[in-house]
Subunit: 145 residues, 2 copies
Amino acid sequence: MAEADVNYMKQALLEAREAYSRGEVPVGAVVVCNDRIIARAHNLTETLNDPTAHAEMQAITAAASFLGGKYLKDCTIYVTLEPCIMCAGALFWSQIPEVVYGAPDPKRGYTLAGYPILNASTKVRSGILEEEASQLLKRFFAARR
Amino acid sequence: MAEADVNYMKQALLEAREAYSRGEVPVGAVVVCNDRIIARAHNLTETLNDPTAHAEMQAITAAASFLGGKYLKDCTIYVTLEPCIMCAGALFWSQIPEVVYGAPDPKRGYTLAGYPILNASTKVRSGILEEEASQLLKRFFAARR
């Protein structure tokens, strides 16, 4: 694993922990552009009463706002959990060239669709700090049972 | 076609025309709950510099905010164009039981995925004022060529 990947995923994990502390499903994301974090976000569906307020959606909106344009060219998103279909669809529209995620989501991950939701040219890597992301989610759901 | 369907889709078309007048891809949506429009929105991706600002996304967020909860139970969304994969994913999370759309989207419609993105129980109807929705889109893209 590249050191930069680990460092950025650690930042996404900090966001996920922030979500956890608010009683939100703990998923976090950061958007990196030219070796700089330009957006950071965590899941806020409960806090905002908004089913669309996933970490990635907010990170995309914030990054586009920061860049002043709706395309996230030259950016990479780091997200602790595999994006769902909605978020993968949003990443498609954003034209982001690189997606890095931690843990797979065997229930709601976009790869389940078996359809190329992301652009064919989008590079996807996964498994970065997977165990940390996964443990945080397990702890969250165990505490709710 | 039921009269109520036509009336609500006319409202969604008014939103699409509003998008058109702002130079946005003309798609509009309304969310109806107990025979009342609780949210109305149109595509604002250019205006907001946000690739996620599709009509449906904003209508879902606004409707959930109005209801004070993240699930759109007992609601119907009327949208002038077939939802894309992102928006269908959002409709899944919203648990909305009914989706009515006007024109099909042969390029970006969610049905292209061939995967059940919406809940199996979600009722989908289409073709309501399809011609009007479709003509508006054609006019928009023709003027941009």
